[in-house]
């Protein structure tokens, strides 16, 4: 049941939706365009009736669907609403969405479940219970109509929120029966029978997003745009050398500056200037010159980290085994031919377009925060801890994120905003991180090196393979309680696991050893869209091309020979190969192809690229085919958008980005020294969706990790020289 959907089909569908909804064709701010806004407390949307926790129906037929996961651009707000609406059988043109607050979730015994939005789990982690919630609401509404008419519920039909009893030719609507339905008990969700995805009418369709219009007119209130009565604005500086304490500062001069209300210590390491406006606060902080202690951390640099990582490539200490088969050492010793290479990857920063910020208001009785967060419950916990209040006396108002990418799963900025606001009771304080401070205080994609050795038999087949990754552990810093027994970080092995639904190694090699030497530093690592899949896919897939070339084999054929036991990996690899014409066409003159595959976050992904490298070493990416098998597709247009976006994020890092550590601190401060991928560099992307059904894979992250190795393998084909370190801007590809 492989299907390929392009973005063209979506436009056709949108036209239909527009005709049904009215308004859309008339102009951007005409009636009928919906926007999900989060700033109201749940139920504040007006009178109506709650039918279970996920659905709220108003007398005017409006359907409000509650969304527990955060929206940061990935589109899952719309996808989740589609899943609920699918089972509810409501009129999609009447649907809007709202966020339940984390405080409400707590007060109602976590009725909406997990609010964490990371690991590409937004939909795959909640599809079952949100669909059950939609089905339960439908059952309550039908039951209410059946009671009113005194007929068996089985005789009722519903379409787009209109309930019909054919025998008596009576009809009613969801809006009319919602009050009665709201008084009925919510049926046991586990007993709800869910629709087979092949019968979907709302889910599975490329519907327009619910949250677009206000993003195009400037009306959407991001957290950084929050304005409250009596609000002050602050900006903050934390220790540039991670871990070092704030010693002091001379505040007299700064306190006399225009608009400045005060200078406050924030925790042990940071200082903030509070003023009437951001700009006044920034001028104050610029003039403050705080002093921090010096520790051994000041001696750490990218060079000293590289030495520690290199030691990890051969060390016996702090080494964990992630995947093992047969005896790799013996196979390598007896191999007819051996290939070896060492790769390295730099720290990367998230650089969300909206810099970190949070508004907080503290009183002895209550603490409230307005924040862009990937995890509302974690924000509530951070707020409570910093406020010194129980969580039941705290509340979090979630705003759509101006980018998340993993950065806003961490709550350091919520904590600091509350610690500051607590010092000015009753006054709302918005703390905005400057871009420079945001850059310094990142949670960085961990740095690493990887040594690989392949042993081949006389036919050029890999008989033994060793892969030793030396890198920093994210979990050891961010969530030590999630480390496996013995202190192993399972996330280090993303895409390299022997089995499991998250990310299985896609090749069968008889003698295999994949290890991680954990080498931590004082630089705080974090989950960066795609996480360790990014470098693991580059290491493995680029090295595969090196080995294929060494034995004179075609990269696609070489991979296929090891993939018979991995049909889903192979299927998506074949799909991109077919789309780019790997076997039947030649690339345009001067262009070269690269291909790669991987599995991450439960989805199977592959990419094929056409690139050229000029005589002076200038790279141009002409074409990129991206494939994914994410099992079920809830909104194909949004899946395509995520694939396109992941390419920009991943290739931006590959082309341009590197965080340098010098004297213990981050060197890069803004987009001039940490560039992003730009429109003019963006290749034509063709997305191939090959959903094979039967499982729910992630979408936001998986494809990111194959774009880079496909391009790098194209460069290797063009120049004959493997690319083993990044970013590309540091290299001369023709040297």
């Amino acid at each position: 049941m492989n299907t390929t959907i392009t973005s063209l089909s979506r436009r056709k569908f949108l036209a239909t939706a527009a005709a049904a909804g009215g308004g859309l064709a008339l102009g951007i701010d005409a009636g009928g365009i919906r926007s999900a806004l989060s700033q109201i407390a749940i139920g504040g949307a007006g009178n109506g009736n709650e039918l279970g926790v996920w659905v709220f129906i108003k007398p005017n037929e409006d359907v409000v669907i509650r969304i527990a996961r955060s929206e940061m651009g990935q589109g899952s707000l719309t996808g989740l609403a589609q899943l609920v609406a699918e089972e509810l059988d409501c009129d999609w043109s009447k649907v809007t969405a709202e966020y339940p607050t984390p405080g409400e979730n707590l007060a109602r015994n976590r009725a909406w479940g997990d609010m964490s939005t990371g690991g590409s789990r937004g939909i795959r982690g909640s599809h079952d219970y949100v669909r059950q919630g939609g089905a339960a609401a439908r059952q309550m509404l039908l039951q209410a109509a059946a009671h009113e008419w005194n007929v068996p519920v089985e005789q009722l039909k519903v379409e787009k929120g209109v309930i019909t009893h054919e025998a008596s030719k009576r009809t009613t609507t969801y809006g009319k029966v919602a009050t009665a339905a709201g008084k009925l008990p919510v049926p046991d969700l586990k007993t709800m029978k869910l629709r087979d995805p092949k019968d979907w009418k709302i889910a599975g369709k490329p519907l327009a997003r619910l949250d677009t219009a206000d993003k195009l007119t400037g009306k959407l209130v991001y957290a950084i745009d929050v304005k409250l009565p009596g609000m002050l604005t602050a900006t903050i500086m934390d220790t540039p050398v991670f871990g070092n304490k704030l010693l002091g500062y001379d505040e007299a001069k700064v306190k006399a500056m225009p608009g400045v209300k005060g200078v406050y210590r924030v925790g042990d390491t940071a200082v903030a200037v509070v003023a009437n406006t951001f700009w006044q606060a920034k001028l104050g902080l610029d003039a403050l010159d705080p002093k921090w202690e010096e520790t051994a951390n000041n001696k750490v640099s990218s060079e000293t980290i590289a030495v520690a990582l290199k030691e990890g490539l051969t060390s016996k200490d702090g080494v964990f085994v992630g995947n093992k088969a047969g005896d790799a050492d013996a196979a390598l010793a007896g191999a007819a031919k051996k290939i070896e290479a060492v790769y390295e990857n730099p720290y990367w920063h998230h650089v969300t377009m909206e810099p970190m910020n949070c508004t907080a208001k503290w009183t002895p009785e209550k603490c409230e925060v307005w924040v862009a967060t990937q995890n509302g419950e974690a924000s509530l916990a951070a707020c409570a801890e910093a406020a010194g209040l129980p969580p039941s006396k705290c509340e979090v108002y979630k705003h759509h994120l101006g980018g998340g990418f993993g950065r806003r799963g961490f709550q350091d900025y919520t904590t600091k905003a509350v610690l500051l606001a607590k010092q000015i009771p009753g006054v709302p304080v918005k703390t905005i991180w400057t871009r420079e401070e945001d850059m310094r205080q990142g949670r960085f994609r961990p740095i690493g090196q990887c040594k690989m050795e392949a042993g081949l038999d006389d036919k050029g087949n890999i008989v033994g393979f060793k892969m030793r990754i030396a890198s920093q552990s994210i979990l050891a810093f961010a969530a030590p309680q999630r480390l496996a027994q013995g202190g192993m970080d399972p996330i280090a092995f993303q895409g390299l696991n022997p089995s499991g639904p998250e990310g299985q190694f896609g090749y069968t090699i008889p003698n295999l050893l994949i290890e991680h030497a954990m080498r931590n530093t004082h630089v705080p690592p974090g989950f960066w869209r795609g996480v360790n899949n990014n470098q693991n896919a580059v290491f493995l897939e680029c090295f595969m091309d090196e080995v294929a070339k060494a034995v004179g084999k075609d990269p696609l054929e070489f991979r296929r020979a090891m993939m018979a036991n991995h049909p889903k990996h192979l299927s998506v690899l074949n799909a991109v190969a077919a789309k780019i014409g790997w076997e039947n066409t030649k690339p345009p003159a001067g262009q070269f192809r690269g291909i790669a595959q991987h599995m991450g976050y439960g989805s199977y992904v592959a990419a094929a690229a056409e690139v050229s490298v000029s005589d002076r070493g200038r790279l141009k990416i002409h074409r990129l085919v991206m494939g994914t098998d994410c099992g079920h597709v809830v909104n194909p247009d949004q899946v395509i958008a995520q694939v396109e976006g992941s390419v920009a994020y991943g290739l931006g890092g590959t082309l341009h980005q590197k965080i340098t550590i010098k004297d213990g601190r981050v060197v890069e401060e803004n987009f001039d020294t940490y560039p992003s991928m730009m429109l003019e560099e963006f290749p034509k992307i063709e997305t191939v969706l090959v959903p094979s059904g039967g499982f729910w894979g992630g979408v936001g992250e998986p494809t990111i990790c194959v774009a880079a190795p496909a391009v790098l393998n194209g460069i290797f084909a063009a120049t004959g020289k493997p690319v083993r370190s990044l970013p590309l801007r540091d290299l001369n590809l023709r040297a």
Binding site: G218, I224, E354, P355, E680
Partner: protein, 153 residues
């Protein structure tokens, strides 16, 4: 005190002349559709029109803008090219997180005003705003759509 003409209205704002125009717009005129992204003219999230030209408002100081200069922010974008761009953005579902998109739309609207039928290389040259979500492919398509160009690329 500064006199600024924003979206056709003359405003008397209590703001120091050395304040970047971006922050005068956001914090004094209370128009928050113009975004802070970098403060150094790199990202374009703060793009506005001044006398019809797209400008990065974080790099301009309030005192550099004359009371007669016509500042247009996303909230006041109502001319034909601006509306065409917004409608194309909606139709092609360009926005992801959306934070940069008001600036992208201001840049695209200015491009179309000067070049009603832009080529791909015109778009490459004019659209230098950063989008971290990576909506570039749809931005290009939407500009072509707004221009009524046959699909390119």
């Amino acid at each position: 005190m500064a006199k600024l003409n924003i979206n056709g209205k003359t405003l008397d704002l209590e703001v120091d002349g050395a304040t970047p125009l971006l922050w005068a717009i956001r914090e004094h005129a209370d128009l928050t559709g113009t975004k802070y992204g970098c403060g150094v003219g790199q990202c374009g999230a703060c793009s506005v029109h001044i006398n019809g030209q797209v400008q990065r408002s974080c790099l301009m100081q309030v005192k550099d803008v004359k009371p007669t200069d016509q500042i247009v922010t996303i909230e006041g974008l109502a001319d034909q090219s601006g509306r065409a761009v917004q409608k194309a953005w909606l139709e092609l579902e360009v926005a992801q997180c959306g934070y940069c998109q008001t600036g992208q739309i201001m840049a695209a609207a200015a491009l179309l005003k000067g070049k009603p039928k832009p080529t791909d290389s015109d778009i490459d040259a004019a659209m230098t705003n950063i989008c971290r979500c990576g909506t570039y492919q749809r931005i290009r398509q939407a500009i072509h759509l707004a221009a009524g160009n046959k699909q390119q690329g």
